[in-house]
Every structure is written in structure tokens, then in C-alpha cells.
């Protein structure tokens, strides 16, 4: 199996405060830590596990600046073979469609059986890339994938998609294909020290829009279906009554409320 895994580097905002920056179109990132998009981490693991079972290669692709090398190298350290980073000023501000076009252009020249992506990105949550990439490459796709089993003939896969309520929808899909991986499909490994050392020496091929035969008008903001006009704080309903004080006090207040409501 020759596989490609697309990875995105995103800020970790799940446990951090998010502030809109002066442009109104981005967030203040200086105090945030960055890492691989969560679903993509599972996608990397899935590709490496299949390679370990059936042989083949894993090529890691990421679109973004030099800082993305950090997530690329981590994927290489876990078992990836080759890496490509797509970097060009023209890629800036692209939505899922613009990103999918750049990825498709990079992948078209490769021999692949499966392209893995994350099902959606933690930052924008577009969830566009898996299905759009399949269509652009002219191959079938499935997303929210939580189970992958390559069938014996090596030409088809049995794939389980996660639906609402945790129901799994199993389908048979022809290879080559694009699979959008959902979190929880496997247990992502940690890279070994040896793997990290080896990955540090590997070359990451850099490709510009021109290298990929893409006109600047096709990618980035110009090539997007939609662009962000501005961010605003979300509209919330009635806010919770916030209990003030130190932990001793807030805990006591909450315990009293629970008692008053007959919940304790």
C-alpha cells in the first residue's frame, strides 16, 4: 500500500482563551502552543499501521510555513518515509477548497492507494478536504472513518464511518481512495528517540504553487469558495451565574446550591 497523509499544524485552543487580533480576521497566536491537528494525528497512525501490516510507503504532506516541519518530522519519526511541504505566499487565507486544490496538485504526481486526511480541522472545522480532495483526484472518498480494513485483493477496503449516536456505517470502497479519519480510530503512538533522530535528517521537499502548476488565482484567498470577513465573539444565551471566590468559597457555594435544589 502506498499511502499519503495530509497533516495540518493548528493552535491548541481547546483549553486556552481565544482573542481576536487587531485585523479582526485572525486570533492572537503568540501565547498559544501549536501541534498536529487532532484527527490528522490519528490519520498518521492509521497509515503507519497499514504500512506495518502490508508494507508500502507513507508520504507526509503539509501546507504551510516552515513551522509545519515540526509536525511533518514527528510523522516521519513515527514511520513516515517521505515528506512534502507546500509553501507559497499565494496559499495564504485559503479555505478547505483552496487547500484541497493544492493538495490534489501535489498528490496527482504520486502513486497512491490511499490518501489519508483528518476528517476536520480543529481551528476552522470546515471538514471539506476529504470529499473535495477525492473529487479533485477523481477517486472515491469516505469521511468520518473510524475503521479501515484492506480487503484481500488489495483493491478494495471495508470502511466504517461514524454516524450520529455512534452508529457505524460500513461500506466497501474501491482503491485508490481518500479517507477522512475521525479521532479514536486507533491509539496514536509516541515517536521513539531513534525515530526522531532519523527524521531530523530526512529531506522535506518544498513545492510552490508554480511547482505544482497552479496559478495564484486558483489557490489561497483568491481560489477559495468563501473568505472570512471578520470574527466576532459568539452570541451566547443567558450566561451562567458565575460563583465568585477562592476554591474553598466557590465549592461551598456550589455545594449549597446543589443541596437547595435537592440534588445532594
Amino acid at each position: 500500500m502506498n499511502m499519503v497523509v495530509c497533516v495540518k499544524r493548528v493552535p491548541d485552543t481547546a483549553e486556552s482563551e481565544v482573542h481576536i487580533d487587531a485585523s479582526g480576521k485572525d486570533i492572537e497566536k503568540s501565547r498559544l502552543s501549536f501541534g498536529i491537528n487532532e484527527c490528522d494525528n490519528y490519520a498518521v497512525e492509521e497509515a503507519i499501521q497499514i504500512k506495518e501490516r502490508l508494507g508500502g510507503t507513507v508520504t507526509v504532506i503539509s501546507l504551510g510555513p516552515k513551522e509545519n516541519d515540526e509536525v511533518i518530522r514527528m510523522a516521519l519519526a513515527k514511520g513516515g518515509d517521505e515528506a512534502i511541504r507546500l509553501e507559497d505566499e499565494a496559499f495564504a487565507g485559503g479555505d478547505g477548497f483552496a487547500v484541497a486544490k493544492a493538495l490534489a496538485a501535489a498528490i496527482k504526481g504520486l502513486e497512491f492507494d490511499i490518501v489519508f486526511t483528518g476528517a476536520l480541522a480543529d481551528d476552522d472545522g470546515y471538514a471539506v478536504v476529504p470529499a473535495a480532495l477525492g473529487e479533485l483526484l477523481g477517486v472515491p472518498h469516505a469521511t468520518y472513518v473510524k475503521k479501515v480494513e484492506i480487503l484481500e485483493d488489495g483493491k478494495r477496503a471495508r470502511v466504517g464511518r461514524e454516524l450520529e449516536g455512534g452508529l457505524l456505517e460500513f461500506l466497501e470502497i474501491e482503491l485508490p481512495c481518500v479517507l477522512g479519519i475521525q479521532t479514536g480510530i486507533n491509539e496514536p503512538r509516541y515517536a521513539s528517540f531513534k525515530g526522531i533522530k532519523q527524521a531530523a535528517k530526512k529531506e522535506i521537499a518544498i513545492k510552490s504553487a508554480a511547482d505544482l502548476g497552479l496559478d495564484p488565482s486558483e489557490v489561497g484567498e483568491a481560489g477559495s469558495w468563501a473568505v472570512l470577513e471578520k470574527f466576532t465573539p459568539p452570541v451566547v444565551g443567558e450566561m451562567a451565574e458565575i460563583l465568585e471566590g477562592d476554591p474553598e468559597e466557590t465549592a461551598a457555594k456550589l455545594a449549597a446550591i446543589l443541596k437547595e435544589k435537592g440534588l445532594v
Binding site: 481547546a14 481576536i20 460500513f170 469558495w225 468563501a226 459568539p234 476554591p247 455545594a255 440534588l263
Partner: protein, 321 residues
């Protein structure tokens, strides 16, 4: 204003609520609202949709008994080319997200996914959608086009009462060729665990804020003194710290306990959907802007590792334990 297509979603004999919501939302936009129904012997859904639509296009064919992106995409693309709507609304569901981006690429139609609000600028949609797990709203400007596609988050529009009686037009299946790339096999139900959290009266929900499984005992202790069961957000289940049957949210369980005490849960839509019907919601989270505080009744903005042990202590005192 050109016609608005709304894709009716159904699975195993049930129509999804988002379908009716979208028909109701579309009714306020100005164009003729056309419900598009692909299925096998789902006349009842056609009739239900007709109560909310100006017209129902109904393709009745065994090909559509279960969702298949290849069959759906071919059929929708043919119907869209024939009827030329200006806007297509699809639910932002496991089905919609699998379908819409490929359809949009094929038709060259701009798509915005997972919208939570919609205004129109003439024929052009101006959608709003969430970013960073619901911590920000993003206002989107779409590229000019003749056809736009949007996937709509559940509960974006409110379902009203049926007020129309649209004509049901049975259409011949436009897909003549065999579906070969993708084949539906079966549905597999999620595993049933030892505790059914949908039946629990009190739940302590634990999220990513717990950081490591070795920290779980502090919430287990709280749950124990409260007499509550433990529930979890997706992150905790994905990490393998709690079993999948404890997961609350879109891809887990929907719970309505008397008390839902959310510990270290930021409150992304995917989770909130599964617990917003709880009678009393309490949240403990260190991020004052965490969306969970927007639906909680009571909140404590602080480090859960400091608050939870104190809370356990106070409840023990109250109970005389």
C-alpha cells in the same frame, strides 16, 4: 430569487430533524422551496416534507435505500443541472459532510459548511459559522456564483408547524449507470456498556481539562460522593480513559439528567448537543470564555484540580460522610 433545494435526510426509516428545520429556514429566504427526497418507498417522508415545501422532488429507487455518496452525488448533480436552483441546503451531518464538498467541486459551486446563521444579500448567502470549537463566530463572504451550497448545523433554524401543501413530483431516477466505487454493507450499533448514562439522574461529565487518565480519580471521587455516574467528552473517550458508552454528544449519547456537572469541558457544539436538555447544568472550567458557560446555569471559573477536591469535601460534609 431562484429556487432553493433542501436535501431531505433520512436513515433507517427516520427523517432527520434538520431536514424540516432547513425547509422552515429556507421559507424565509424568498425563493420557491423545493424538498429533494432520494429514497426507497419513503412516501411518508415526501408527504411530511410537502407540509413545509412548495414542491417535493421525490426519486423512489432501491439505489437510495441507504446513503451512498456516489449514488447521491450523481442524482443530486443531475437534478440540480436540470432544475437550476440558486441555493442548495444540506444538513451538516455525517451524511452531508461526506456528500457536499464533492458535489460542490463537481458543480463548481461555492460551499460553506456547518453554518449557524444565514442572511441573504440578494441571491447571495452571507453565512455565519463557528471557529475554534465554538469560541468565535466567523462571518463569511462567498465568491459570486449562480449556485451556492451550504451545509447547515442542526438547530440553526427552528422547525415550525406545517403550513404548506407542496406538490409531490415523482421523478425518474436520473442515475442510469451502476454504482461501482462505493457499496453500502451494513450498520453496526455501538457497543452497550455496563452503565446506561441516558438513565442516570446525576452525571459528572469529564473533559479534556482532566489532562491525564491518572487524574481521573478526583472526578471519580466527586461522582461517588454525589451518587452520580461518570460521563465523558469525546476527547476522553478517544484517549481510552473512559469507555465509549460514556460519551455524550452528537456521536455519543443524548442525556437529560437532573444534574450535569461538566468538569474541564469547553462545551463545543458536538458535546453540548448531547446534554443541553439536562435540568441543571454546572460547569467548572478555567477559561472564562468557554462556550459551556453559555448554556450552564452555574459556573466556576477556576482550576478544576483545585475546585473539584474542595467540592467533594463540601458534599461529604453536607451528607455527613
Amino acid at each position: 430569487m431562484k429556487d432553493i433545494f433542501v436535501l431531505i435526510e433520512h436513515r433507517r426509516g427516520e427523517m432527520r430533524d434538520v431536514s424540516i428545520e432547513m425547509l422552515c429556514g429556507a421559507a424565509g429566504l424568498g425563493g420557491t422551496v423545493v424538498a429533494v427526497l432520494l429514497g426507497k418507498d419513503v412516501d411518508a417522508f415526501a408527504e411530511k416534507a410537502a407540509g413545509y415545501a412548495d414542491k417535493v422532488l421525490y426519486v423512489n429507487d432501491p439505489m437510495f435505500e441507504n446513503y451512498n455518496s456516489e449514488a447521491y452525488q450523481k442524482a443530486l448533480s443531475a437534478l440540480i443541472k436540470e432544475h437550476n436552483p440558486g441555493l442548495v441546503l444540506i444538513g451538516n451531518t455525517a451524511q452531508g459532510v461526506d456528500l457536499a464538498p464533492a458535489l460542490a467541486v463537481e458543480l463548481g459551486a461555492p460551499l460553506v459548511t456547518d453554518i449557524t446563521a444565514l442572511e441573504m444579500d440578494g441571491d447571495k448567502p452571507k453565512p455565519t459559522r463557528q471557529f475554534y470549537g465554538g469560541k468565535l463566530d466567523g462571518h463569511m463572504v462567498m465568491k459570486d456564483a449562480d449556485l451556492y451550497i451550504l451545509t447547515v448545523r442542526e438547530a440553526t433554524f427552528q422547525a415550525g408547524d406545517p403550513s404548506k401543501s407542496g406538490e409531490i413530483v415523482k421523478v425518474e431516477n436520473p442515475v442510469k449507470e451502476e454504482i461501482t466505487y462505493r457499496k453500502f454493507l451494513e450498520y453496526v450499533e455501538p457497543e452497550v456498556g455496563e452503565v446506561d448514562i441516558t438513565q442516570s439522574t446525576l452525571l459528572v461529565g469529564v473533559g479534556r481539562g482532566i489532562r491525564e487518565d491518572k487524574n481521573l480519580p478526583i472526578v471519580e471521587e466527586l461522582a461517588k460522593v454525589l451518587g452520580a455516574d461518570l460521563a465523558a467528552s469525546r476527547a476522553v473517550v478517544d484517549a481510552g480513559w473512559l469507555p465509549a458508552d460514556r460519551q455524550v454528544g452528537i456521536s455519543g449519547k443524548t442525556v437529560k439528567p437532573k444534574l450535569y456537572l461538566a468538569v474541564g469541558i469547553s462545551g463545543a457544539f458536538q458535546h453540548v448537543t448531547g446534554m443541553k436538555g439536562s435540568e441543571v447544568i454546572v460547569a467548572i472550567n478555567k477559561d472564562p470564555d468557554a462556550p459551556i458557560f453559555g448554556i450552564a446555569d452555574y459556573g466556576i471559573v477556576d482550576d478544576l484540580f483545585k475546585v473539584v477536591p474542595k467540592l467533594t469535601e463540601k458534599i461529604k460534609e453536607l451528607k455527613g460522610l
